[in-house]
């Protein structure tokens, strides 16, 4: 699948085929994609624990269920719990950054050297950053990019994916992760029981309400020709509409089959 179509085809899947297993290699592909994500200072805050619904002890699975994350945990055969490792920067002390210097990603042409990392970047920038209240936010934003790559790789592999928020304290407790990790998201993975279209692309705010050019308040003008091209390339697809009879019928059928309230 082409990248644009992967972006266009992605939906937050909430109805998974509960009994159709997910190939382990496809999960690996997703994790490989996460590992290759752009990452500030090459720190790699993102950690993941892959959980197979039918292999995790029942009491642990029950503990992870929340009022809004009960049905999906039952249905999705694979759950990937993502954590942010806040300790990584102080453990690495700039060594991963120096790897970038060595391979020419951070070259002297741009002012980089091992000495710069050792004398300035780590002690004067990175270490103080880890003591700043905004540090977890920055680390989470960075980790989120890697999660996004995993998610899109899953779609490209023909899987349905859906990001959800677990109870962070319980996720830490159940998986007994290090103290300096915090729980970010759980990505549910499986084959969709709902149609790929799932009612269409979700409503989004107007393009020009979100994006500006040059300065705040000056919308980035949306070129209709580009929109048409993206439609042809399946990135922009049919938008979901309220009270779509086809979508209603689909959900009713799924509710009946899976034993869900309507």
């Amino acid at each position: 699948m082409q990248y644009k179509e992967v972006v266009g085809r992605r939906r937050s899947i909430r109805f998974f085929e509960p009994d159709r297993p997910v190939e382990r290699e496809k999960i690996q592909v997703m994790l490989e994609a996460a590992r290759l994500a752009s990452c500030a200072v090459n720190a790699h805050w993102l950690k993941a624990i892959v959980v197979h619904r039918d292999k995790i002890p029942e009491e642990k699975l029950e503990k992870l269920k929340t009022p809004v994350l009960n049905v999906q945990l039952d249905l999705a055969p694979v759950h990937i719990y993502f954590f942010v490792d806040l300790g990584v920067v102080n453990r690495m002390q700039g060594t991963r950054l120096k790897q970038l210097v060595d391979v020419g990603a951070l070259p002297p042409t741009h002012g980089w050297s091992h000495r710069f990392v050792d004398e300035l970047v780590y002690p004067q920038i990175l270490k103080p950053l880890t003591e700043d209240a905004a540090y977890p936010v920055a680390a989470a934003a960075d980790a989120g990019m890697a999660v996004c790559q995993a998610l899109l790789a899953g779609v490209d592999e023909g899987l349905g994916v859906g990001l959800n928020t677990p109870n962070p304290a319980l996720a830490k407790e159940v998986f007994e992760v290090p103290e300096d990790w915090f729980s970010l998201w759980v990505l549910l993975v499986g084959y969709p029981a709902e149609s790929w279209d799932a009612g269409g692309q979700r409503p989004r705010p107007d393009f020009e309400e979100q994006y500006f050019e040059g300065s705040y308040g000056k919308p980035f003008k949306r070129d209709p020709a580009v929109v048409e091209r993206l439609k042809a390339e399946n990135m922009i697809q049919r938008q979901a509409v309220p009270n779509d009879p086809e979508r209603r019928a689909e959900i009713k059928k799924l509710a009946e089959r899976l034993g869900l309230p309507i």
């Binding site: 509960p18 809004v68 994350l69 049905v71 039952d74 009713k252 899976l258 034993g259």
Partner: protein, 128 residues
């Protein structure tokens, strides 16, 4: 409690309205078991529909409506018990539990009991 009496409760009217708005059709007659099942649940839990909804909500200090975790847990457990004690196959029991869950959901109480029939064995049992 018969259907007419049940429909006098605001929460039941809201349920019917919610069902109609979301799914269309005639919620009272499309599933004739719907209202009697709620009436049976109310008798089982010894509560009227409006009180059940009220007990699942609370008002915080700012005057905003919140879900009462304690209340929701109580009703979630009561529905599970009602479902377990219901007659019929697993699917029929699940339908009865889900009818009551639907009543609370359309009254603004987010409630998930999981997928009742998600295991292969659930469906195989039903086919036997």
């Amino acid at each position: 409690m018969d259907n007419t009496k049940l429909l006098e409760f605001q929460s039941v009217q809201d349920w019917m309205k919610g069902l109609h708005e979301h799914w269309g059709g005639d919620p009272v007659n499309d599933d004739p078991d719907r209202l009697p099942t709620l009436a049976e649940f109310c008798a089982f839990a010894n509560v009227d529909p409006d009180t059940a909804v009220k007990e699942c909500k609370r008002i915080d200090k700012a005057g905003d409506v919140r879900i009462s975790v304690k209340g929701r847990r109580k009703y979630s457990e009561l529905i599970d018990e009602f479902q377990a004690k219901s007659p019929g196959s697993k699917l029929q029991r699940a339908k009865r539990g889900n009818t009551v869950r639907s009543f609370l959901i359309h009254n603004g109480i987010l409630l998930q009991a999981g997928a009742q029939m998600h295991r292969v064995t659930d469906r195989e049992d039903e086919e036997e």
